[in-house]
């Protein structure tokens, strides 16, 4: 036939391959939340499986598409070609190509189940940290029951430690995902799911809700911040303190109390005695050490005075549909509140 089909087929066959290889190289480096750039043993196991299945799939892809393209070229209709032999089948061949993929798939399955038991079994012994990740609409709260700390948007952990995460939601289903560190586990109301991960090297890793949870599902991110154990200990003791009460920021503190912030937010030393007694009615993030956090507003914004001012000015413009109302603050009130909140290191 005159159609340049086979040439196109080959070009087409090479296109995804070239794309695949170049972009995987691209994916494996850089600071992206890439699963191919693992920073801990769980993500490492999961990435290893990817490279394994990529190898298997590429082999099958090349063989099958190769046969397809070869058949298209070899058996294309040409002038004077006789009627082909009318072959109806061959049982031996059928058995061969039933058994061959079965063996392939069996090998894949063995690796799957072996790795699954590894990453699903929470290791005992060694350094351990217990954290409860609470999924809200639409931000993450992190409770450290042993250390008696509550924080939000940033999950701070020590390196080389088994972080044992309990997952809790009383609203809808969320999913806890830090691509560089661990795959997803859903946060299901009424189910006590838990998972673990461990971080090899200090750094900041992007995490995000991965189960559609409503209007602002897209803006439900968090950071995992891995610190060396000694710095983590310092961080913990800092977080355990009540909020600083610096008279320099008294105006901001007064606004915090008078503008209704305390209806939803708790600050230890202001409207809370300690982290243990936070009542359920406080539906917003605990702000005791707000100034020490990297992210605010469910991970939408970096924690800078400008961003906080933008948020306080009109939270609904930044993140439509979230629970925080526009309080109608004046510019000077916003400045005072920003100064106060950012001082809460």
């Amino acid at each position: 036939m005159r159609i340049p089909l086979f040439r196109g087929k080959i070009r087409w066959g090479l296109l995804p391959l070239a794309l695949l290889l170049s972009s995987l190289l691209f994916a494996a480096c850089g600071g992206n939340p890439s699963i191919l750039n693992p920073a801990g043993p769980v993500a490492q196991e999961e990435a290893n499986l990817f490279w394994f299945i990529l190898g298997v799939a590429t082999f099958v892809f090349v063989v099958v598409e190769g046969i397809l393209i070869w058949s298209i070229i070899r058996f294309r209709e040409r002038p004077g070609m006789p009627t082909p032999r009318q072959i109806h089948g061959n049982t031996t061949l059928e058995i061969v190509w039933t058994v061959a993929p079965s063996i392939f798939l069996f090998v894949v399955l063995v690796f799957t189940i072996r790795t699954m038991f590894q990453v699903d079994t929470i290791p005992t012994g060694g350094q351990q940290l217990e954290v409860t990740a609470v999924g809200h609409q639409w931000w993450w709260e992190f409770d450290y029951p042993t250390q008696k700390i509550i924080t939000a948007d940033d999950l701070v952990v020590p390196t080389g430690t088994v972080v044992h995460v309990k997952l809790y939601s009383n609203n809808v289903i969320h999913s806890f995902w830090v691509p560089n560190l661990t795959g997803k586990t859903d946060v299901v109301p009424g189910h006590d799911n838990e998972k673990w991960f461990s971080v090899d090297k200090p750094g900041t890793y992007h995490g995000q809700c991965a189960e559609y949870c409503g209007l602002q599902h897209a803006n439900m991110a968090f950071n995992v911040i891995a610190l060396p154990p000694d710095q983590f200990a310092t961080w913990v003791s800092g977080q355990q303190q009540a909020a600083a009460n610096n008279p320099q920021y008294a105006r901001g503190l007064a606004l915090f109390k008078s503008k209704g912030c305390t209806a939803c937010h708790g600050i230890v030393g202001v409207n809370l005695n300690d982290f243990n007694t936070q009542p359920q009615t406080l539906v917003g993030p605990n702000l005791t050490h707000f100034g020490s956090r990297d992210l605010i507003a469910g991970g939408v914004l970096k924690n800078t005075p400008e961003n906080l001012a933008k948020w306080l000015h009109d939270p609904q413009a930044v993140k439509p549909g979230n629970d925080m109302p526009n309080l109608g603050l004046s510019q000077s009130e916003i400045n005072d509140l920003v100064a106060y909140l950012e001082s809460l290191k």
């Binding site: 087409w12 794309l19 695949l20 972009s23 995987l24 994916a27 939340p33 890439s34 699963i35 993500a43 499986l49 990817f50 990529l54 799939a57 099958v64 046969i67 397809l68 058949s71 298209i72 058996f75 209709e77 082909p84 032999r85 009318q86 072959i87 109806h88 089948g89 061949l93 059928e94 190509w97 039933t98 993929p101 798939l105 894949v108 790795t115 699954m116 609409q137 997952l167 609203n171 289903i173 999913s175 995902w177 795959g183 997803k184 586990t185 859903d186 299901v188 109301p189 009424g190 799911n193 809700c209 991965a210 189960e211 559609y212 949870c213 409503g214 602002q216 599902h217 897209a218 439509p320």
Partner: protein, 561 residues
């Protein structure tokens, strides 16, 4: 002689009944061919609607911090895109094709229950319009096409959550899928009875064309899978309106009940969307290779095996919800198993090409494109069965890549193969070849440019169902590329629409058998008379029309089946 006057009575002009007018013929028809065409035209209309929704999605995501759609609209659009494409495009399209082709293929004069058949069509039309009308009320469903509870119902009785749907949005969805379910059950029953009871003399089960086989398996899947969806949506409506708590953990209900019910419908559903495509490809490849299908029995029974296994794999959609490890191992195994009959099909299609005389008419191009694309959808599907890897890529763009290679590279390519293949039978005219080739290449390029980068975005950590993303996550270039690809696909569809409209009036006359085909639907006029066949044919092999045209080398003389 007395004269008597004969009163001249005016000649009776009988009023044309409504059912005899052109419009009336369509509106009141019970002819399977007319109903089939109405199904297909309706499905294609919804394909265009769903496609426009897809273009909106891709436009919003073309650049980071997109401002084309607000979050509520985006969530409605992606929900309706999935719902429309699955329930209002692919399913009715296959029902329509089956309606048109199956009775002709088995030598029947109509479906077994013609009026039930018409009922099924009208329910699809009104169910579809009902669902889409939600946009007019600013209440389009926004809970995703799998409508996970409790997001789709909270707000009832003080459960502490912001529902996806404070108003009636998800009621449109639940009632819409209930309606469409009624239609599918009616259609499926009709196919089962037609195929079992109305085959021409000599057409044993083992001589049925493979498209008929796959329609039969699909019909059984519908009959056994849909009740689960019906139950799930019914309970959802009860929770939403009558204060029950089936899915609410706070009242000892369970959100995972929804997921189990939904996916025990949802996974057979995936095969409902692809088995007829397997059937189409198994018809088209042999005709354009000038050979019988290789390994008929294995192609047919692997379809049955897929049908059975499809009921055992549902929880692979739920690997991340925290099921016990042993249960996950079971579902990983069943999911791996289902890849075996699928592989067998692909090998048989390749063997059908082997030693053939391949003619690359448009139906053949789409069928070959199907094999090439579906293979990718199969391979990344196996990757998703690898549970620990699935933890990473489930609910990411990797899954979007997978399902679009299966549903677009698979089902849609097969649908276009079918349209180009059977259009001459339905209209008596051929679609334009050159335009068909242009459309094929645009689609092949478009599909790969749109959906291949989604694999990589998934690996780069991009979750699905996000209306926006930050510019510093490394996702910008690939998203833009995908949007370009989506518009290439749109161009291909425009080429098709142009081709369709012009060929309908000016297409080359096709005759009754333009492809020198093998099966009975080509052994009658194009388009066929309402009664299909003057005399019911007698069947002696799997290729009755081939036998008739080649009496010397008829299948029944040289091969026993």
């Amino acid at each position: 002689m007395a004269t008597s006057t004969i009163v001249e009575r005016p000649a009776l002009v009988r009023q044309k009944r409504f059912s005899e007018t052109y419009i009336g013929q369509w509106l009141t028809t019970t002819d399977h061919k007319k109903i089939g065409i109405m199904y297909m035209v309706t499905a294609f209309f919804f394909f265009v609607v769903g496609g426009l929704e897809a273009l909106l999605i891709r436009t919003q995501l073309a650049l980071p911090d997109g401002k084309v759609l607000d979050p509520q609209t985006y969530n409605e659009i992606f929900t309706m895109h999935g719902t429309t494409m699955i329930f209002l495009f692919v399913m009715p399209m296959f029902t329509g094709l089956g309606n048109y082709v199956v009775p002709l293929m088995i030598g029947a004069r109509d479906m077994a229950f013609p009026r039930l058949n018409a009922f099924g069509y009208w329910i699809v039309l009104f169910g579809g319009l009902f669902l889409q009308s939600s946009f007019l009320f600013h209440a389009a469903p926004d809970g995703g096409w799998f409508a996970y509870a409790p997001l789709t119902e909270c707000g009832v009785q003080g459960v502490n959550c912001i529902p996806a749907t404070p108003s009636i949005n998800m009621d449109f969805w639940a009632l819409g899928v209930l309606l469409l379910g009624i239609s599918s059950i009616a259609g499926a029953l009709n196919f089962v009875v037609t195929i079992f009871k109305l085959r021409a003399p000599g057409m044993t089960i083992n001589r049925m064309p493979l498209f008929v086989w796959m329609t039969l398996v699909t019909s059984f899947l519908l009959l056994f899978a849909l009740p689960s969806l019906t139950a799930a949506s019914g309970l959802l409506l009860l929770d939403r309106h009558l204060g029950t708590h089936f899915y609410q953990a706070a009242f000892n209900g369970d959100p995972l009940l929804w997921q189990h019910l939904f996916w025990s419908f949802g996974h057979p559903e995936v095969y409902i969307l692809i088995l007829p495509a397997f059937g189409i490809v198994s018809e088209v490849l042999p005709v354009f290779s000038r050979k019988p299908i290789f390994g008929y029995t294995f192609v047919a029974w692997s379809g049955v095996a897929i049908g059975f296994l499809s009921f055992t794999v549902w929880a692979h959609h739920m690997f991340a919800v925290g099921l016990p490890v042993v249960a996950q191992a079971f579902f990983a195994t069943s999911t791996t198993l289902i890849a075996i009959p699928t592989a067998v099909k692909i090998f048989n299609w390749l063997a059908t090409l082997y030693g053939g005389k391949l003619s690359f008419k448009t139906p053949m191009l789409f069928a070959l494109g199907f094999v090439a694309m579906f293979l990718i959808g199969g391979l990344n599907g196996v990757a998703l069965a690898i549970v620990p890897f699935d933890y990473q890529v489930t609910d990411s763009y990797f899954v979007i890549a997978h399902l679009h290679y299966v549903l677009f590279g698979g089902a849609v390519f097969a649908i276009f193969a079918a349209i180009f293949y059977w259009f001459p039978k339905m209209t008596g005219r051929l679609l334009n070849e050159r335009l068909g080739q242009i459309q094929f290449w645009l689609m092949l390029i478009g599909v790969n440019v749109t959906f291949f980068p989604m694999h990589i975005l998934g690996l780069l950590g991009m979750p699905r169902r996000i209306y926006t993303y930050a510019p510093d996550l490394g996702w910008n270039e690939l998203n833009l590329l995908e949007t370009v690809g989506a518009f290439i696909i749109a161009a291909a569809i425009l080429v098709f629409l142009f081709n369709f409209v012009t060929s309908l009036r000016q297409g080359q006359p096709a005759g009754s058998d333009p492809w020198d085909a093998f099966t009975l639907e080509w052994d009658t006029a194009s388009p066929p008379e309402p009664y299909n066949f003057k005399t019911i044919p007698v069947v002696r092999s799997r290729r009755p029309f081939y036998d008739k045209k080649n009496p010397e080398t008829a299948d029944w003389k040289v091969a026993v089946h």
